[in-house]
Amino acid sequence: MQRRRLLVLLVLLAAGLAVALPDAALAHGVVGREDLPIPKWLFGWAATAVLVASFVGLAVLWPTPRLEQPAERRLTSVPTLLDPLCGAIGVGLFVLVVYAGFAGTTAGASNLTPTFVFVIFWVGLAILCPLFGDVFAAFNPWRAIARAFAGIAALVSRQRLPAPLPYPERLGRWPAAIGILAFAWVELVYSGRGDPSNLAVLALAYAAVQFVGMSLYGIEQWNRYGDGFAVYYGLFARISPLRWERGAVYARRPLSGLTTLDPVPGTVALLCILIGTTSFDGFSNGPAWGSLSPRLTDAIAGLGVGQGTALELAFTIGLVGAVLAVASLYRLGVTGMQRESGAAMTATELARRFAHTLVPIALAYVVAHYFSLLAYEGQRIFYLASDPLGEGADIFGSADTIVDYTWISATAIWYVQVAALVLGHVAGLVLAHDRALAMFSDGRTATRSQYWMLAVMIAFTSLGLWLLSAANS
């Protein structure tokens, strides 16, 4: 009875606040672009309700692990020629992007390189992989070049190439984590990111590092752990119901591919970097960072650093701070889980065992924060395909295409963002519940161990929605 009263009180409180506080930005009178029936913060409440309902539903209706031992079935055969063909396309695109960066116009919007790197490659591929499997592995230009080179070298020398060094266990996914952090720094902090030639230089430098890594530790081993982009897309591809292997496609339960993720060192760090850097992207567009950033920049400039460098340092501090905040939140949830379950393993080990639950959350953050970028700026690829250098060419007859900002409304984008966040966190809960059932002695302990993970999921959802609303206000 008391609970019902509390519930009624909360509903009345929410309704009252919804009327009293129509939406954010009361001081500036900025009208939101979205036309929403309820204030944005109420979506946070609704998302929390969905997560709590999912948690209860899982506790009642999901008594045994179902994803831990994924079963696959062969769907169809794939011509073996497809692999080298996709690799050749990947190499061609890489060469084009680098060439456009050096030879094309320096105006970012008229040059293929920035749009291809930051929109099509970083966001578009990340959305394709959970749907169709590891698309990037097929088109990975560095892997394709390395494989071609290894094949030719073996043919010319007429003997097997020397075996690669064993990959150091302690290195884990740390090289990939550092690679992704470096990319995020370029995207969000580096003041020269708008210059296509800088991006071309960085793309070549990244490729050089991958070639060194592959030559030392072997092509497949390095792609599995060391190449930041291969690992990034590979993680999202584990969500997919499809798995591609040379010559065949296999079908499996969605999400089940994540349960076989080997929790090597650096995996948790990589996922926290993905969530943290995306969070910082949203946060840096909001009013809180808008008021903090100038003060931080001035303080750094006061140490004798130039204004431009001070700004980059301030943003670097913000970026690293966001990653550490996300890592701390996850660690808090894992420590709570350890206490509730009485698990014998350390919090670090437990954090690794549940690292795969962060993958759908990282994807949710990418979709929620960059969907509008893909929806609008992604259209540039149509005219850039015809005129990659921005010099007036019209190769495919689409150079006159313009960006249509009306094909999807701001309201529709908001709903996609909210849906992505909620679905991603529900998927995280499902994975965590399934892993807990497999790890802990009984269903009751498993459910109780997930109290803190539920709190972490609610925190990430609320944070995501707050960042989106702050960035749009």
Partner: protein
């Protein structure tokens, strides 16, 4: 003394509303956890008393 413009209170209140579900959820989960532990202790006592030999 600088006064906070009253209109800015709208921002902070709205920001707080995003945190409120988390605060409520943590409170409810902490209470539930405490209840679970208490119940387990009580069940442990019942089990022990059931295992104990009958008084002579």
């Amino acid at each position: 003394m600088t006064l906070l413009p009253i209109a800015h209170a709208g921002h902070w209140l709205v920001d707080l509303l995003y945190v409120l579900p988390l605060v409520i959820a943590v409170g409810v989960l902490a209470t539930q956890s405490w209840r679970d532990k208490r119940q387990e202790k009580a069940e442990g006592r019942v089990d022990k008393s059931a295992d104990a030999p009958p008084a002579a």
